[in-house]
């Protein structure tokens, strides 16, 4: 049978345990708003019972520390989903800026500035007007001024897209230093975790590591591999090492062909990062795919229109008597690439517009008719200029709209995962209040037991006599 002394020891241990538990609760409340903090629960362990005279007697309780409540699968899912959401988010921001260069025209009456579609139409329609009176100076001026508007809008759009590309390049290269700071921090935390807590959850250290991982995944796409002793290796989604347990591998940048490329060691990982996800993935997708594709379409349009119009103008007769050498209306591009940015009107004298057919009198309009018809002929990649532009805006709009939908869905999924994760790991003040209350009551109960034991002990000491010891 147990002694009163052992009961004293048992209850003193219980008081310690309750205090320790209260400590955990206090820490949870204190960190309720700390980003990345995972709530902890006290670990209770019943002390192993002892056998006295063939009877097993309980030996109280011990508080052995606190365990962070986390779900690693959930956390990893959250990290993966975050890198997708930030990739589509940063790509969407870039695309939104890009599509603003091509505003839809609201109506025939109210022409929107910079609407290339209506510029194309008006340019070719000016030749159609010239059919009615091929020698009229005002109508000829009209051709040059609509040509200037078209060339101006196309080259403006191309220049803005180029600027945007340069800006994205800069933003992307800025990301690499943030990535390096985070990877070295993760490597350091790995070392600490491996040395202090190789076999169990490392608590706040792991919280910090998870927080860094979460931030890193918003910058670049990553994969994480748990290694022995609670360590962690981080690779890019395509498998290049960023962190291997205690050491990190810095990402470096360098200019290749005028754009920033990203290197890990000596390997150029730009292409892999582009499809990898994270903010960097989004920036690079916009920089290397979306903007170049829009620019290529504009280039094709500018090249075909300039070349075909110039060719026809040089195949007619103008007011100045030039037969077949009336000159170019647009500056003649040498190659498709860069045509849009360089598009401009070089003709200054409207009399050099060759409205008449080759060798015909100046009153003839057959070449003006041919020029006007260019607007309906398949001169740009097998499509008429208007059809081509129409397909282009539909294509660009669809891309933006797809990315928008994708981003909305991914954000919703991130919110959901975050909610699930918070539901499990976040500090709920009501819960903590209730735990605190419970622990406080247990503490009170234990103290009460202590008091009772004290009274019992006094009775024992006095051997039934009252007064000597109270």
């Amino acid at each position: 049978m147990g002694t009163i002394n052992s009961a004293f020891a048992l209850i003193a241990q219980a008081l310690d345990a309750e205090q320790s538990g209260l400590n955990v609760v206090a820490n949870n409340v204190a960190n309720a708003n700390t980003p990345g903090y995972t709530r902890e629960t006290p670990d209770w362990q019943a002390s192993s019972s002892i056998e006295v005279n063939g009877q097993f007697l309980g030996d109280g309780v011990q508080e052995t520390g606190a365990t962070s409540v986390r779900d690693r699968v959930l956390e990893e899912r959250l990290v993966q989903q975050q890198q997708l959401a930030t990739a589509s988010g940063s790509r969407l921001t870039a695309l939104d800026t890009l599509q603003a260069l091509f505003p839809p025209d609201s109506g025939a009456g109210a022409s929107t500035a910079g609407d290339i579609g209506s510029d194309i139409t008006k340019f070719f329609a000016s030749f159609a007007s010239l059919e009615a009176n091929p020698t009229d100076n005002a109508l000829r001026q009209q051709v040059l001024s609509t040509a200037a508007t078209l060339a101006g809008d196309v080259s403006n759009a191309a220049a803005s897209a180029n600027q945007q590309q340069a800006a994205l390049d800069q933003e992307a290269s800025g990301v690499s230093s943030q990535v390096n700071a985070l990877t070295s921090s993760i490597a350091q935390l790995n070392q600490q975790i491996q040395s202090t807590s190789p076999n169990a959850d490392a608590g706040t250290l792991e919280d910090q590591r998870q927080q860094d991982l979460s931030q890193l995944s918003q910058l670049v796409g990553i994969n994480q591999v748990t290694t022995e002793n609670n360590g962690l290796s981080v690779t890019t989604t395509s498998g290049q090492l960023l962190v291997s347990e205690g050491s990190s591998f810095p990402m470096t940048t360098g200019s290749v062909g005028g754009v920033t490329h990203f290197f890990l060691g000596n390997t150029d990982v730009t292409a892999q990062l582009t499809s990898g996800g994270g903010e960097l993935g989004g920036y690079l997708t916009a920089r290397d795919q979306d903007i170049p594709s829009a620019l290529a379409s504009l280039d094709q349009l500018a090249y075909s229109v300039s070349t075909q119009v110039n060719m026809l103008n040089n195949a007619g007769t103008d007011m100045a008597g030039d037969n077949g050498n009336a000159g170019n209306i647009f500056s003649q591009p040498a190659q498709v690439a860069g045509s849009a940015a360089a598009m401009s009107v070089v003709m200054t004298n409207p009399n050099h517009i060759a409205a008449a057919g080759l060798g015909k009198g100046t009153g003839d309009n057959s070449n003006a008719l041919a020029l006007a018809n260019l607007g309906n002929q398949s001169i740009v990649s097998g499509q008429s200029p208007t059809d081509y532009y129409s397909s282009f805006v539909t294509g660009l709009g669809s891309t933006v709209s797809n990315v928008q939908t994708e981003n909305t869905a991914q954000n919703a999924s991130v919110t959901q995962l975050q909610s699930q994760s918070d539901a499990l790991s976040g500090v709920n003040l009501n819960d903590e209040a209730s735990s605190m209350s419970t622990l406080e009551r247990s503490y009170q109960a234990a103290s009460q037991v202590f008091t009772m034991l004290n009274t019992v002990m006094a009775s024992v000491l006095n051997l039934g006599e009252q007064a000597t010891v109270s």
Partner: protein, 303 residues
């Protein structure tokens, strides 16, 4: 079951979304346009480009057509006057050929026909907005000049055979001019100026000749030929106004289609806006209620 303790911040996200939607709807309401960026409706944006292209083409055809209508009408009225003049010449020549007139009368008729020839020349040199309309592609020089040094006098055509067409948005070509040589210098007996010049020479001698009878017959043929060419001009005028009418009605239809495609449906948007506003207000209330710190269980604990 545990719940997300940070649900209030999720509510704030919802409030942000509601406000973004309100902003979007307000923009649509104030501009009256449903599609403000390509991604809002990519298909409509593409379709819009095509519709506006068609509308603009129709518009520019309507303008051109009113311009050339004037030119064709001037041509038609000039040819009308030519027919009147030629009819008069024929009646003069018929009178001269009946054998009752004396030499001085014949000479006077010769002079009158010469006057008619000059009148017809000036009609053939009619210009519209500074451009000669019967000169083919040579619109800057007078198409017909008459040299009286030889007898019979010689009228030369300085223009060419060029014919201009105006193309309708549907691809039809409408003839805009008839070259002067086709009207006034048809081959053989169809030549107006040939017949007039010959008659002037025939009667100038003051004697009756069989040649004058032949030449009168030629003038009759030439008159018929001019009338035929006038029909070409008249046809063009008719086709032009028909095409113009068709294009105008097409334009009206296209504009309606374009408006339906791009314009905002105000009642729907107003309703959506009002719903968004209600939702926003409700969210704000919920956040205000839940966000107040007195709701924590800690406040209920006794010290």
């Amino acid at each position: 079951m545990r719940v997300d303790p940070y649900f209030v911040s999720n509510l704030v996200n919802s409030l942000d979304l509601t406000q973004a939607s309100e902003q979007q709807l307000t923009a649509e309401l104030s501009s009256g346009v449903r599609v403000n960026s390509l991604s809002q409706d990519p298909i409509a944006s593409g379709e819009n480009v095509l519709l506006l292209n068609q509308i603009q083409q129709d518009d520019s055809f309507t303008e051109s057509s009113s311009l050339v209508q004037g030119q064709l009408q001037v041509a038609d009225s000039a040819l009308g006057s030519v027919v009147t003049q030629l009819t008069q010449a024929i009646s003069l020549a018929t009178g001269a050929n009946n054998g009752t007139l004396n030499a001085s009368d014949l000479i006077s008729i010769s002079n009158q026909i010469a006057g008619i020839r000059d009148e017809v020349t000036s009609l053939a040199n009619t210009s519209y907005q500074g451009q000669y309309i019967f000169g083919g592609g040579q619109t800057s020089t007078a198409p017909f000049t008459t040299s009286t040094t030889a007898s019979p006098a010689v009228t030369t055509y300085n223009g060419d055979n060029d014919v201009n067409y105006l193309q309708t948005p549907n691809g039809q070509s409408i003839q805009l001019n008839v070259p002067g040589n086709q009207i006034f210098q048809g081959t053989g007996s169809n030549s107006v100026f040939g017949a007039l010049n010959s008659l002037v020479a025939d009667f100038a001698s003051g004697t009756h000749t069989n040649q004058a009878v032949t030449d009168l017959a030629s003038l009759n043929t030439a008159l018929n030929y001019v009338s035929q060419q006038r029909v070409v001009v008249d046809n063009s005028i008719t086709r032009l106004s028909a095409a113009s009418d068709a294009v105008t009605s097409e334009q009206t239809q296209l504009t309606t289609a374009q408006t339906n495609l791009m314009q905002a449906d105000l009642p729907t948007i107003s309703t959506q806006l009002s719903l968004s506003e209600t939702q926003g207000t409700a969210l704000e209330d919920v956040i205000a209620q839940l966000g107040s710190s007195t709701q924590s269980l800690f406040s209920k604990l006794q010290g």
